[in-house]
């Protein structure tokens, strides 16, 4: 049985269900680690559940944590990971790959990769498979702003004093914020000195850090927040669709640009489940239909160029498609980010709290 399934996977058959109608991965388990926020919930509903139905495999999901908590957990577990597959932000994949904790997926078992934009297929030295694009811009209050803000400089405006939020230091978006500040001051984004000096002015004007998107939703709904960034619209798919009630709007159309980060699915070394079903799962995340549904659900950019999306999603300003990544999109050099990460996180915290 196991041999047969392995052979079938090796043949990389495009359809998942076998001819007999019995499901191919009956009795097999995939242990998935994903985010605790709404994006993780979407993974569960739009990837894990249909995958279970299509293949008969069982997906056990753990969705408690942020990318850095995932990295901490995997590091602590060392060579005895409890997960088969993990979705996480780009920098997390790079870190874990550098630690030597990741296995390289066999690209031959991922036929859907062919439909993926070549620049987003793999990363982290071949250990990460492109998943979706995480995009960050500014979130604003539609009651206060009749027109979306056009520059990050808006954060320093007198009128939004005590009504603004910034991303927490623990998130990659905080590094983006430093980058954006530097660009706003005319730098190339890497001039941290000047950026932190400018950010220091926000210390006493800040209402909160956006550690918890649900708290932010509540604060926007009650009209206590005006603006914040760099932050991902991904958390607010429901609210952005209904600005009358939520007061929330989002924009990428900023002078300094917006931020895009390729997220990965990764597979730890010596993971507990069978390789073939894990590959099938990763392949499934790249399916044109799945990518379209996910893009619509959490406003992430699809990496599959043929992603099947509704008309509304295709025209949605909140979902960045690969072809829209013009020069306005800042895609970090991950090595540079890895080199400044610790220092920037510390200084960001020190400057603002």
């Amino acid at each position: 049985m196991k041999g047969a399934a392995g052979m079938a996977a090796a043949l990389a058959m495009p359809s998942i269900v076998t001819a007999q109608g019995s499901k191919r991965y009956d009795g097999k388990t995939v242990r998935l680690l994903t985010w605790s926020d709404d994006t993780g919930l979407a993974v569960l509903n739009h990837i894990a559940k249909p995958f279970e139905e299509a293949t008969g495999a069982k997906v056990i999901a753990d969705r408690t944590g942020s990318t850095s908590e995932m990295v901490a957990k995997l590091r602590a577990a060392g060579d005895r990971p409890q997960y088969d597959v993990i979705t996480l932000a780009g920098v997390g994949g790079v870190t874990l790959a550098a630690d030597g904790l990741l296995a390289k997926p066999d690209l031959n078992q991922l036929p859907n990769l062919e439909q993926v934009d070549p620049q987003f297929r793999t990363g982290a030295d071949g250990h990460g498979i492109g998943y979706l694009l995480w995009t960050g811009g500014m979130i604003y209050n539609t009651r206060t702003f009749s027109e979306p803000p056009v520059s990050y400089a808006q954060l320093w405006d007198e009128s939004v004093q005590s009504r603004l939020f910034l991303p927490p230091a623990t998130w990659t978006d905080a590094l983006d914020t430093v980058f954006a500040t530097s660009k706003m001051l005319g730098g190339d984004g890497r001039d941290a000195e000047a950026a932190f000096e400018k950010l220091a002015q926000l210390r006493d004007r800040l209402l909160t850090f956006g550690e918890n998107p649900t708290q932010l939703v509540e604060l926007f709904r009650s009209n206590a927040l005006d603006i914040g960034g760099v932050y991902a619209p991904a958390f607010f798919a429901r609210e952005l669709a209904n600005p009358e009630q939520s007061n929330m709007g989002a924009t990428y159309d900023l002078e300094e640009g917006f931020f895009a980060d390729l997220m990965y699915t990764i597979m730890p070394k010596s993971h507990p489940g069978d390789d073939d079903v894990v590959h099938a799962f990763i392949n499934y995340t790249l399916d044109a239909g799945v990518q379209g549904v996910m893009a619509e659900a959490v406003l992430n950019g699809p990496v599959n160029t043929q992603a099947v999306m509704s008309e509304a999603a295709r025209s949605s300003p909140f979902i960045i498609k690969p072809e829209q990544l013009s020069d306005k999109a800042v895609v970090h050099d991950k090595d540079f980010i890895a080199s400044v990460r610790e220092d920037w996180i510390k200084r960001y915290t020190q400057t603002l709290s």
Binding site: R31, S36, E52, K58, I60, A61, Y83
Partner: protein, 281 residues
């Protein structure tokens, strides 16, 4: 002139006024968030604006369906999380109390120095930085490479409940006079029998309070469990966290009210058992 007291029945003037005022502030600080959660859980609206304009039981219905319909997806299943929470709580409560009874006996009957140092030692878990403890337990558990199963959660919980259980057992033990034991021994009982047949039954209120206390603490523990849980062994607070962190829909509030009720029943039970004769800490 009126008679004085801790809380004079009549009169008392500015003293009584101030006591009532401060106690009132304390009660408000303690109860306000819970009161709001309870009220919101009966809201009929989709959003969480306060105060709600209409009331209904709809979120309770949604919360109930969570228990019946959640079929698969491991740590998403609230039923599995609830049952492991209960299992951990039960084991923790039995073991901690069984260990604290002899300890309380030894400390109350023993030398003052032993008592002071042991009390200090068993207070430490209460005041330890839990985050640090969580990562330390996690690293130890991972480096030992043992298949701990549910004991991954039980072992750290045991340390956390000990301060509370010990205090309860000790205050119960303090009220037992030496003469009682002596009588039993003089009637021919062995020291062990005297302990089991005379002392333990007399400690009953403290023991029961300790049992329930251990269960409450374990049942609600979050921080260490957050580090120690695995995909197969998770608890209700972890499940609640992964649910509330993403979206605050009122069905979570309804579920919180359900947890508040469980805790409430247990606290009232403790209070009934010790009925003002002993203290909770």
């Amino acid at each position: 002139m009126s008679r004085v007291g801790l809380m004079p029945e009549e009169g008392g003037g500015s003293y009584k006024l101030l006591v009532c005022l401060l106690a009132g502030i304390g009660i408000i600080i303690a109860a306000a968030p819970m009161a709001i959660i309870v009220i919101m859980s009966f809201s009929a609206a989709e959003t969480s604006s306060f105060p709600p304009s209409e009331f209904s039981l709809r979120w309770y219905e949604t919360a109930l369906t969570l228990f019946s319909s959640d079929e698969s997806s491991g740590s998403q299943a609230v039923g599995a999380a609830l049952s492991s929470s209960l299992l951990v709580g039960l084991v923790v409560m039995v073991l901690s109390v069984a260990a604290c009874i002899p300890l309380a006996y030894a400390l109350v009957r023993g030398q003052r120095r032993l008592r002071q140092s042991m009390e200090l030692l068993f207070t430490l878990p209460l005041v330890f930085p839990l985050v640090m403890l969580g990562i330390a337990f996690l690293l130890i558990a991972e480096s030992l490479r043992w298949e701990l199963g549910i004991w991954r959660l039980i072992i750290p919980h045991l340390a956390l409940v000990m301060p509370f259980v010990l205090r309860n057992c000790m205050s119960a033990m303090q009220s037992i006079s030496r003469e009682t034991e002596e009588a039993a021994i003089s009637l021919g009982a062995s020291p062990l029998r005297a302990g089991l047949d005379i002392v333990v039954p007399l400690m009953k209120p403290g023991i029961l309070a300790g049992l329930i206390f251990a269960f409450i603490i374990s049942f609600n523990e979050f921080t260490i469990t957050f580090f120690m849980y695995t995909i197969d062994q998770s608890t209700l607070p972890i499940w609640m966290y992964s649910r509330t962190v993403s979206s605050l829909d009122p069905s979570t509030l309804a579920l919180s009210v359900f947890i508040i009720l469980i805790d409430l029943v247990m606290i009232i039970a403790i209070d009934k058992i010790i009925a003002g004769r002993s203290s909770l800490f």
